[in-house]
């Protein structure tokens, strides 16, 4: 075995090292590198993601479960019917379980990354029925508690189109199971306060704007 064969091979024969002092020396230095790498690995073993990453992910998880996870495609009619019922139930539960709470001035600990962004509420509170335009944030039942200077987390998720129905949007039944992107505004506790649907086909969906929060 030549030196080149030894170093290019996958299996390293110790016989070559007994014959070649240069390779033996080089192999010993390789071993030092391996030992150093193991030490480096041990040194870093306690390093973990900062707690803010977990907080942001939990907030995203709550945002997703509040509005409902996207349904699987296929058997759309059954899925759509269930999605509509589920979305309506979840939103009703949010309204009932999170009635008027003391106003919080706490800042969200979450840090902005790819899908999270800090933003402030509009100065006049949530978009009112009168000036709401498509693309505005629509308040969920407890959104009135959000103060003008409260900082919220914004999480982008995918929800079934059926989740738009309880918020006053008209959605054709055959499209209820489709998914649509939505920005959900979450407070520091991860409670969804408002939602904005990002629909590339706005013309197909119209808001009845009859909901009054």
């Amino acid at each position: 075995m030549t030196c080149k064969e030894y170093w290019n091979g996958e299996a390293h024969s110790s016989e070559h090292l007994q014959e070649c002092a240069a390779c033996a020396k080089r192999a010993a230095r390789h071993e030092e590198v391996v030992v150093g790498l193991k030490s480096l690995g041990e040194q870093m073993r306690r390093v973990e993601a900062p707690a803010r990453v977990e907080r942001a992910l939990v907030a995203a998880f709550r945002g997703q479960t509040t509005l409902g996870a996207p349904e699987r495609r296929g058997s759309w009619w059954l899925a759509g019917a269930w999605a509509i019922a589920l979305a309506a139930t979840v939103l009703l539960a949010v309204a009932l379980l999170h009635p008027r709470q003391p106003e919080r001035s706490r800042r969200s600990p979450a840090r902005s990354y790819t899908q999270l962004a800090e933003l402030q509420m509009p100065s006049d509170g949530m978009a009112s029925e009168a000036d709401a335009t498509e693309g505005d944030f629509l308040p969920l039942p407890n959104a009135e508690l959000v103060g003008p200077n409260d900082e919220m987390n914004l999480v982008r998720i995918e929800v079934p189109r059926s989740a738009m129905i309880p918020l006053g949007f008209e959605v054709p039944a055959e499209r209820a199971a489709e998914t649509v992107e939505a920005d959900v505004m979450l407070d520091a506790d991860g409670v969804a306060r408002a939602v904005r649907f990002l629909d590339p086909e706005k013309s197909t969906i119209s808001s009845s704007r009859e909901m009054s929060w």
């Binding site: 390789h30 790498l37 480096l40 977990e54 998880f61 996870a69 990354y113």
Partner: protein, 201 residues
């Protein structure tokens, strides 16, 4: 009572169980974060990658199939793609913020022992810089196999290559590390690849 398997936790997660998500996250986050940290050299980017990995897991139909491998391998696979995506976006430029990142890594790796051998620490710092300067395909095998002690078969699955390729890349990576450390000792630039990879003019 035996701890729940990853698969059990995943089922609970997709039925909306927040505690299951937290448990699964805490079980795997450190390894994913360290992998991303070693690969990017940036704490902020490692946080970004970690977050993206677990957000991907939240999506229904995320693509994990227990029959094809472990959840750990799957998460490493997503992390690897996220690192690659950051490179493609041009967000990873070691040359521009190498000093800042080195400081961040050094802070993370502080030893509790005040009497820790300074020479040893300096040696490990040099080694860490050398790892960061390796070409990506060599760096990832070193990070997985040497630093995170993932076995070769799992590393091959994560990297999507034969196990023999893992071995040969690892061997080549160690040789490159040796060269870089040698250059460092001789006072030459230890990490040639730290020169700017792009021309912005």
């Amino acid at each position: 009572m035996a701890p729940e398997t990853d698969e059990d936790l995943l089922i609970r997660i997709h039925s909306g169980d927040e505690q299951a998500f937290v448990s699964l996250y805490r079980r795997h986050q450190a390894a994913i974060f360290r992998f991303a940290l070693h690969m990017t050299g940036s704490e902020a980017q490692a946080e970004d990658v970690t977050q993206e990995v677990f957000l991907a897991l939240l999506r229904e139909g995320c693509g994990f199939d227990p029959a094809r491998g472990t959840l750990s391998g799957y998460l490493y696979g997503i992390a690897r793609k996220q690192v690659l995506r950051q490179v493609e976006r041009g967000r990873l430029d070691v040359a521009l913020d190498a000093r800042q990142d080195e400081m961040a890594l050094a802070e993370l790796a502080v030893d509790d022992d005040p009497l820790v051998d300074l020479a040893r620490r300096e040696g490990l710092d040099a080694l860490r810089r050398a790892v960061l300067a390796l070409p990506r395909r060599y760096r990832e095998v070193v990070v997985l196999c040497d630093l995170e002690e993932v076995d070769y078969a799992d590393a091959a699955e994560i990297l999507g290559c034969p196990i023999g390729t893992v071995r040969s890349r690892l061997h080549r990576a160690r040789a490159l590390l040796l060269d870089k450390l040698k250059q460092d000792r001789n006072g030459k630039p230890a990490v040639r690849s730290l020169s700017p990879a792009r021309c912005f003019v």
